[in-house]
């Protein structure tokens, strides 16, 4: 698991740079591993940039507090595993696995999430085109059907979790999956578009009316990023 994370995050850094993050120097430094440590990536837009669909306050807490906590938890789990490994204490290392999965997953999921969102005044919203549109039409029937199915999946999450548009590596087809808590998408699937369905993602603005959040978020989906992930795999 740890080696997977170490491979995954530099790839994210590349994607962030490609998306033209304005704070280039900071983004490069902050998203790379310093001696194997994960760091919080800069957002590719301002905290207020997704308003009115996602409030600036939510974005700031979500990024600067929640995501930072996953980064810290991941580093602490990696450190514990490293120390246990150097002592040959594999039992200790194994007991840290759930924390590694949770915080590592939290770091990966949020890093993907920030990138697959964009301001409605910029790249956000609308509908995909090109090869991605063709694939969605062919695997879901239509974009509207896909969006309705994704919203149903999101509404059906019992507790905290995520819904993802994924590509099956072997078959090349698109599908929808949900993941509990911070479980990352893995195995045969490549994550293309993730929506955070934890209450912290919407509660300050939408309270218990989560269906309104699930409707609004389509205004800030960055289809360019999603298409890039689709074409790269």
């Amino acid at each position: 698991m740890s080696s997977t994370l170490l491979r995954t995050v530099p790839a994210l850094r590349g994607a962030l740079r490609a998306s033209g993050a304005p704070k280039a120097a900071g983004a490069m430094a902050s998203t790379s591993f310093v001696r194997g440590k994960a760091t919080l990536p800069d957002l590719p837009y301002d905290y207020g940039a997704l308003e009115p669909h996602i409030s600036g306050k939510i974005m700031e807490l979500h990024h600067a507090k929640h995501h930072q906590t996953y980064v810290n938890g991941l580093n602490s789990a990696l450190q514990t595993i490293g120390e246990a490994e150097s002592k040959g204490d594999f039992t200790k290392a194994a007991t840290v696995a759930p924390l590694l999965n949770f915080h590592g997953g939290g770091h990966i999921n949020h890093s993907l999430f920030w990138e697959n969102l964009a301001p409605a005044s910029g790249e956000g919203g609308g509908e995909p085109d090109g090869a991605l549109k063709k694939a969605i039409d062919s695997d879901f029937g239509s974009f509207d059907t896909f969006r309705a199915q994704m919203n149903t999946a999101l509404a059906g999450i019992q507790g905290s979790g995520w819904a993802w548009l994924v590509k099956d590596k072997a078959a090349g087809t698109l599908g929808l999956v949900t993941r509990a808590n911070q479980d990352p998408v893995s195995g045969p699937y490549v994550p293309l578009l993730g929506i955070d369905a934890w209450e912290h993602a919407y509660y300050l603005q939408y309270e218990n009316r989560k269906a309104e959040y699930f409707d609004a978020i389509w205004n800030v989906v960055n289809w360019k990023t999603v298409a890039g992930r689709f074409e790269k795999t």
Partner: protein, 243 residues
């Protein structure tokens, strides 16, 4: 504990339904025709602002009038749909509905227990002196009351995602106390008696504490209803912990 098995058996005996189920009244009527009372939202035993400053009135109102109400509404709807699925011989739908019943039934039970095991800070009920028998057993189990609080708080902080922390009295004769956590809306099962529970879903604290859940966990101790806890521990409570 949600005794789903016997609920299914009971429901299987009732097969006719009429009318649509697009609103709550029809759901209640349909359940009534089958001799089943629809579940209803219990009143809070205190005002929405009674737990201030530890839990804000805004949180309490949304939590009770919206979240808990949604569990009750969706539980009733799922029961009604289940009866229709039995009537139609739709086994796949019945299986799918079991999870919906478990989730919403668990949400209803958990929140009903939670409201009653809270009390305004400084009130008689919120005094540990109300739980002499329970505290003696806690000290026996964890060495000290503070030791228990530390262990319980750590269990709450360790929950990954949505869930609950519970102090339970284990099933069986002479069984002791134990701290358990349950995920999402899973209820306490296996005959263990919930003594008190703490809701660790983000909706339970976010509007007031934001990401600072450690502060919520610290403050919840001010509003635990130790009289209720003692009654549940001593087996004097008449509350239902099953559907």
């Amino acid at each position: 504990m949600v005794n789903i098995g016997s609920l299914w058996q009971y429901l299987a005996l009732h097969s006719t339904l009429s009318g649509d189920s697009t609103n709550t009244n029809n759901t209640a009527n349909n359940l009534a025709k089958m001799g089943l009372a629809a579940y209803t939202l219990p009143a809070l035993p205190y005002a929405y602002d009674a737990l201030e400053p530890h839990i804000s009135a805004q949180i309490m109102e949304l939590h009770h009038a919206r979240h808990h109400q949604a569990y009750v509404t969706n539980l009733n709807k799922a029961l009604e749909s289940h009866v229709a699925a039995v009537a139609a011989g739709d086994v796949a739908a019945q299986i799918a509905l079991q999870q919906v019943v478990k989730f919403n039934g668990g949400g209803h039970i958990n929140h009903s227990l939670f409201w009653k095991n809270l009390a305004p800070a400084g009130s008689e009920d919120a005094s540990v002196a109300q739980a002499k028998g329970l505290v003696a057993e806690i000290e026996k189990t964890w060495g000290s009351f503070d030791g228990f609080k530390t262990a319980f708080s750590a269990a709450l902080m360790g929950i990954q995602g949505s869930g609950w922390g519970w102090l339970v009295k284990e099933a069986g004769n002479g069984a002791g106390l134990r701290i358990v956590t349950t995920k999402d809306q899973d209820p306490v099962v296996g005959g263990d008696v919930p003594v008190f529970g703490v809701d660790m879903w983000e909706h339970a604290y976010y509007l007031q504490y934001l990401n600072g859940k450690a502060a919520y966990v610290e403050n919840i101790w001010n509003v635990i209803n130790w009289r209720t806890a003692e009654e549940r521990f001593a087996g004097r409570s008449e509350e239902k912990t099953e559907l």
